[in-house]
């Protein structure tokens, strides 16, 4: 006998899990909420980590930032795994269509030589910097505190890998594997890239994960992405380099989306206490100076005589963005 169970109206005993009800009341909860809040263990660990016996396995003392509730650092995009992968798969469909079109019509071959060289010099070595972004964010995903912030950091780490791979394809598209070898050599030795490589290597040894978040996600991305995927991209489009813009559209959109999430973290952490705010201000000043030095040669290569004006412009925009999150600039 086929039973039609749909016909039965049943009153649930409860609407959600207790930890969610304790926060929001016993009412239907979203998948983001049930999949995120309190999912990380907080109490009672059996053994101290052999690799860091001064801390518990998950321990809020791994950063100097203090929060009464780490789940205040929520993701405005409400990304749980399903929402995240579905959002990215749509974007990758668009990116794939762009790469297909460039390949089918041989558009890369039609690029003006000068623009092609600029792309090879500036976009392809950047794949290594993106890999640094992956490492910094996987560090936070591993050692951060509270799923609200560690979860999107893993997504962010994987996004950086995705970007590094799109940049790899730009190199392959423009010149084949040689582009990658040249870019690596340039990343390792060319004066153009040494300041940025030094900045990134310095962030890779930072032990306070919130400091890593500021150095990598707020400051470095907040300056590099507008420089390369907005300003330089504008140059490409204006001078007949639309195929290059097509290959990097993902990055442009992605940085706008992720900046909103990054801002939300900074804003909430800064509003939590004067101590937090002072610390964030200190990190901001320290890393902004270092990052501007690190990207100066790139701006020079991209904009020549206009480099300084472009950087001043970017810095002003970046400062006003930080001011909106409650930081002093």
């Amino acid at each position: 006998m086929q039973i039609d169970l749909r016909t039965v109206a049943i009153k649930p005993v409860r609407q959600t899990f207790d930890n969610i009800a304790r926060r929001f009341g016993d009412k239907p909860a979203s998948r983001y909420q049930e999949g995120t809040y309190d999912v990380q263990q907080t109490d009672i660990f059996h053994y101290r980590p052999m690799w860091e016996p001064e801390f518990e396995l998950f321990d809020e003392r791994r950063t100097a930032i203090r929060m009464k509730d780490w789940y205040a650092l929520k993701d405005p995009r409400q990304f749980y795994y399903g929402a995240y992968t579905i959002a990215r798969s749509r974007q990758q469909d668009a990116a794939e269509a762009n790469f297909d079109m460039i390949e089918e019509r041989g558009l890369a071959d039609l690029l003006p030589a000068e623009l092609r060289q600029t792309a090879l010099d500036l976009l392809v070595p950047l794949r290594h910097a993106e890999w640094g972004g992956n490492m910094n964010n996987s560090f936070i995903a591993a050692y951060g505190y509270g799923t609200a912030i560690t979860q999107p950091c893993l997504y962010h780490a994987m996004d950086h890998l995705g970007v590094a791979q799109y940049l790899t394809r730009v190199g392959l598209e423009l010149q084949g594997p040689k582009a990658l070898d040249d870019a690596k050599a340039s990343w390792m030795n060319a004066p153009l890239w040494q300041p940025l490589r030094r900045y990134i290597e310095n962030t890779l040894v930072v032990r306070d994960w919130f400091e890593t978040f500021v150095a990598q996600n707020l400051v470095l991305e907040g300056l590099v992405y507008p420089l390369i995927f907005d300003r330089l991209d504008g140059e490409f489009s204006a001078k007949g380099g639309t195929p290059i813009s097509m290959m990097t559209r993902f990055m442009g959109e992605w940085s706008v989306e992720t900046a909103k999430w990054i801002d939300a973290q900074i804003k909430v952490a800064a509003a939590e206490s004067p101590d937090n705010k002072a610390l964030l201000n200190k990190w901001l000043a320290q890393y902004r100076g270092a990052a501007l030095e690190a990207i100066a040669p790139l701006a020079e290569r991209a904009f020549g005589a206009d480099a300084e004006a472009t950087l001043t412009d970017l810095t002003n925009e970046f400062n006003s963005r930080c001011a909106k999150q409650g930081l002093s600039v």
Partner: protein
Amino acid sequence: MDMKATKKKLGLKEKYAHMTRGLGWETTYQPMDAVFPYAKFEGIKIHDWERWEDPFRLTMDAYWKYQAEKERKLYAVLDAFAQNNGHLSITDARYLNAIKLFLCGISPLEYVAHRGFAAAGRNFPGVGPRIACLMQSLDEIRHAQTQIHALSNYNKYYDGFHDFKHMLERVWYLSVPKSFFDDAYSAGPFEWMIAIGFSFEYVLTNLLFVPFMSGAAYNGDMATVTFGFSAQSDEARHMTLGLECIKFMLEQDPDNLPIVQKWIDKWAWRGIRVLTLVGMMMDYMLPKRVMSWKEAWEIYFEQNGGALFNDLARYGIKMPDCVKQCTVDKEHISHQAWATFYQYGGAAAFHTWSPTDEEMDWLSAKYPNTFDKYYRPRFTYWREQAEKGNRFYSNTLPMLCQVCQIPMVFTEPDDPTQICYRESEFKGEKFHTCSDGCKHIFDDEPEKYVQSWLPVHQIYQGNCFTPSANPADPAFDPMLEVLKFYNFNLGHDNMDYEGSRDQQNFNTWRGLATKNV
């Protein structure tokens, strides 16, 4: 310049190598040892990370595409399940107790796996293994979340699901799986890979997931079947990663062999002890049985695992010693575990019950050497007592093994009537373990296992009461206070299935669906 000529078509392997390997570099502004501080302390020697063979070649864009497709399908099924009262399709609400154990004991560990693989994905100096670990980290948060989302609907209607993270941290039997993962995550990245990547994901995974997923399929649980089925292709990737990892370590340096062998021995035994809960689930908790624990052990460990270890023999790896004891244990542990939970059913967040005659006959047939001889009389006696209104609940607290944290209920390998105890000494103090396997693990790293947060010891030390508890009050009932500390809904989460709210509700709701009113 002719671009066409330089842009020759790349093979898949070559293309993937460009997409991954080339990304990393030898740092010079900071020493590599500072960038990768946990790569050496375990003593594993790696000479050339470039020799790592990528076990699967998945670029990020392909990952997003495949996984999003799976997520769309999975959530469509879960939505339909919720809309159509899918929970009433299960064989019987008794079944859900297996799933409560899963949500409280397994799903939060998927989450720890996610964090542990994120750490491994940061800590290895090689790019290839790092990317593979990061993808697994991403998969593991998927597993935690899809499980929580799938079982969220049961939580709305049934008891015992409602505070799984809180319970995992505190409840006595949940410290068994919790301490297992704490143990792995507190070790270094290489041991983590042997513990979770190899032993758990490769050697033991079939003994965990196949029983739960086929149990779900046999018992009409579409929610569990859906997330289980959807996770299969992830698991296939995890297995190849685990195997590649162990081969890579063994190929890199002969000095790695004894370390790897020691870890395999340890993690096989740790894992097998945790699987006791699965054995009990298979033999006692499924209204419709799939196969016995003993059969599962024979197929998935003795046959499949045997083939695996034959394959690894060329590296010098031997089958763990503890397997000899498992051949004896497979006849006993599920019965001993269910008997324990039956007695401590007042302190468990799922229901327990006496097996029916039919079920006991099934057990006799599956365990001809042991069930009738050692266990049927006990269950029969308890059932008779329950029928007379004397359902037996133990009020004493059992002693726990210092390593696996299971109560001391297992018997001597050569005498199933004698409880097995082992004793070690460390810094003048005595510590007790349940078996030679656990004693061996303790003796090798006593400084680690003396730290164990043993739930029973903690109760005795007064660490398991809520802040409002008042031991000076004459009416103070310590056991009751402990259950409050666990956040049990007393009388609903615990005690016998017979007469439970789950039983009543399920029967009423099913009645509404199947009868005319």
